[in-house]
């Protein structure tokens, strides 16, 4: 037994030496590196170019909407004024507040409810666990339209159409499977021995959770909160049918935008509004890039 192990070790060492030689050879050969670099540039440009075009157009004078200058030209801030102009019927300011409010409520409730379910799924042994996990995952796959007809009728009957709760409640249930799944997989990787230790030292389960686990879980919970907020911020289908002018979120507001020139699609103002709506998300995503990627792939559910 030990002889066999010894042999494997020495052969591993040989392999390692050979590997180093291969690496040296590869390093001399610059071709693949250049190809990788070109591919990387193509990917970055493909992802960023339309985004860049949106920002450039947002700052361009409306008279030069279709200018094809690749760099910013005819720079103006008028489009942002138009975007917020209530006299033109653009309630972007209110829509932003609506989206913030809906997103905040959805995120907080979704996390409170989701955290407890995720804790149970990650940490407790009980019958029917896989059935419940499967059911929650399946819930995330229901098409929104399968829900909208009955919800529309139900909310009409109880007078909820155009009210915030009609937008918040469905959004919470869309966000819940995502939070439960992401948090469950984060929770599984946590050092739970500490919880055991705290309980041996006399903490109750709830105390142990609050004092030991919650601080440790804060980054995971925070990441999930970002994903939940983005998901709620991006929701369109339900909101477009169940919101009123007073409660509509930004996605709905942007889809029905009015410009300063009648009978002309107000592209520059839309791009300005799009920039306002998008920049906070992009900044958020870039700052927490690593965590978000971890969260996305852990949950495996679309945000």
């Amino acid at each position: 037994m030990s002889v066999a192990v010894g042999r494997t070790r020495s052969s591993t060492r040989e392999v390692a030496r050979e590997r180093d030689e291969v690496k040296v050879r590869v390093a001399k050969h610059r071709g693949p590196a250049i190809r990788t670099a070109i591919s990387a540039i193509v990917i970055a440009v493909w992802c960023l170019l339309p985004f860049y075009w949106m920002i450039v157009t947002a700052f361009r004078d409306v008279g030069f909407t279709f200018s094809t200058d690749a760099w910013p030209s005819h720079v103006t801030f008028d489009n942002f004024t138009t975007a917020f102009s209530t006299s033109l019927g653009n309630h972007l300011g209110r829509a932003l507040l609506n989206s913030l409010f809906i997103g905040a409520v959805v995120t907080v409730v979704g996390l409170l409810v989701g955290t407890s379910a995720a804790y149970a799924l990650a940490r407790l042994d009980f019958k029917g666990k896989s059935v419940i996990a499967g059911g929650i995952l399946a819930a995330s796959m229901f098409p929104g339209v399968a829900l909208i007809t009955p919800l529309f009728q139900l909310f009409t009957n109880i007078g909820w159409i155009g009210q915030y709760q009609a937008l918040i409640l469905p959004s919470i249930s869309f966000v819940l499977p995502l939070t439960v799944y992401t948090l469950t997989s984060f929770f599984r990787e946590m050092p739970w021995d500490l919880e055991e230790a705290a309980r041996i030292d006399g903490c109750t389960r709830v105390q142990a959770f609050r004092r030991i686990i919650l601080p440790l879980a804060a980054p995971a919970v925070f990441t999930t909160a970002i994903l939940a907020f983005i998901s709620s911020w991006n929701e369109y289908l339900i909101s477009s049918q169940l919101s009123s002018d007073a409660t509509q979120p930004v996605t709905v507001a942007i889809a029905g935008f009015q410009g300063s020139v009648p009978h002309q699609e107000p592209y520059t103002a839309i791009m300005a509004a799009g920039t306002i709506v998008t920049i906070p998300l992009v900044v958020l995503v870039l700052i927490f890039q690593r965590r978000i990627v971890a969260g996305l792939t852990a949950g495996g559910v679309k945000g």
Partner: protein
């Protein structure tokens, strides 16, 4: 975790398991109630409504009809384009949106196949590039998150502008394509915009799978003289398959319910008026014309999604739960 002490384990055999069950019950109940109210109830009530007649004034007799059991009439409305009036069942008059049903099915499937195929191929390529070591890798990984972070509604408006007749795309390509209102060009516009928006998500999921493949496997293969192509098809693809299948499944289910992009980019119709109408768009159009036939259509959409998910898991082995469990255990690390 494995160190969860023999002490704790022996206790588990006794009362602790029951205690776990009680705790788990309380912790999961809120989630269960919310999902039951907003997902369970509508799905069941949609199925019930789909078998009922619309209440309202009957155009033929001028009398109020209370609704009641409709049998399969609402489904016949979609599948056979039959309309039911007091006079009996007959072919729907022209202009009825029931006639769009098969075109909407076709569009939905066409979009799903095209976008998912493109996104898979480009996503695998992007993931392979991002899995390599090069300077500026962090920058590329950040760039790839930008399309993902932009709301679909904004994406649709952004591409609407790019696809304008006077827009930048026609200028760059030197073409004069009416992107958002030609029958096929509007379909391609949707596919291009969707691919731009969602490929990054695919790439990230695939990248997570790629990172689980140990470097040694590739080194061994290249020492055995395997070419790049051989390495891709013999090592990368089989080993990344579980993660890839889950990513594809998620994307397929998502593409089957596509709504935002065609609704905004081509106003729901495009081209001949219905060339980008998906099932979801048709449901929303129907809601204001009659809850019950809209329910039948949303039930059809739901069954289609369910069927596709089932086929995927059954025949292509996309086992979401197992793959995730394996990733969580770090089995492939």
């Amino acid at each position: 975790m494995a160190v969860t002490l023999p002490l704790a384990k022996s206790r588990k055999k006794g009362g602790l398991n029951e205690a776990h069950g009680r705790w788990a019950f309380y912790l999961i109940v809120p989630t269960g109630i919310l999902l039951a109210v907003v997902i369970g109830y509508p799905v069941i009530s949609a199925v019930i409504m789909s078998f009922q007649k619309d209440a309202g004034l009957d155009k033929a007799t001028g009398l109020f009809v209370a609704g009641g059991f409709a049998g399969l009439a609402n489904y016949a409305h979609w599948f056979l384009q039959q309309c039911t009036t007091a006079a009996g069942t007959s072919a729907c008059p022209p202009g009825n949106i029931g006639a769009v049903f098969w075109e909407a099915i076709g569009n939905t499937l066409f979009f799903t196949v095209c976008t998912v195929a493109l996104e898979t191929v480009i996503g695998v390529w992007m993931a392979i590039i991002m899995n390599r070591n090069f300077r500026g890798r962090a920058l590329v990984r950040a760039a790839i998150l930008v399309p993902w972070a932009i709301p679909t509604a904004v994406t649709a408006k952004l591409w609407y502008f790019i696809f304008d007749y006077n827009g930048i795309l026609n200028h760059v390509l030197g073409t004069h394509i009416i992107w958002t209102s030609g029958a096929w060009s509007s379909r391609f516009a949707i596919i291009i915009a969707d691919t731009w928006k969602t490929t990054p998500f695919m790439a990230l999921l695939i990248l997570a799978g790629l990172q689980l493949i140990p470097e040694e496997v590739y080194e061994a293969a290249s020492m055995d003289g395997a070419s790049t192509i051989q390495r891709f098809f013999r090592i990368t693809l089989p080993l990344v398959k579980p993660a890839l299948m889950v990513a594809v499944l998620f994307r397929v289910l998502d593409a089957l319910r596509m709504y935002d992009l065609p609704a905004i980019l081509t106003g729901g119709g495009g081209g001949t008026g219905n060339s980008t109408t998906t099932l979801s768009i048709l449901v929303v159009q129907q809601i204001r014309q009659g809850f019950n036939s809209a329910s039948a259509l949303s039930t059809i959409t739901f069954l289609l999604v369910f069927l596709v998910a089932f086929l995927f898991v059954r025949f292509l082995g996309a086992n979401v739960v197992q793959t995730q469990a394996a990733q969580q255990r770090g089995e492939l690390k």
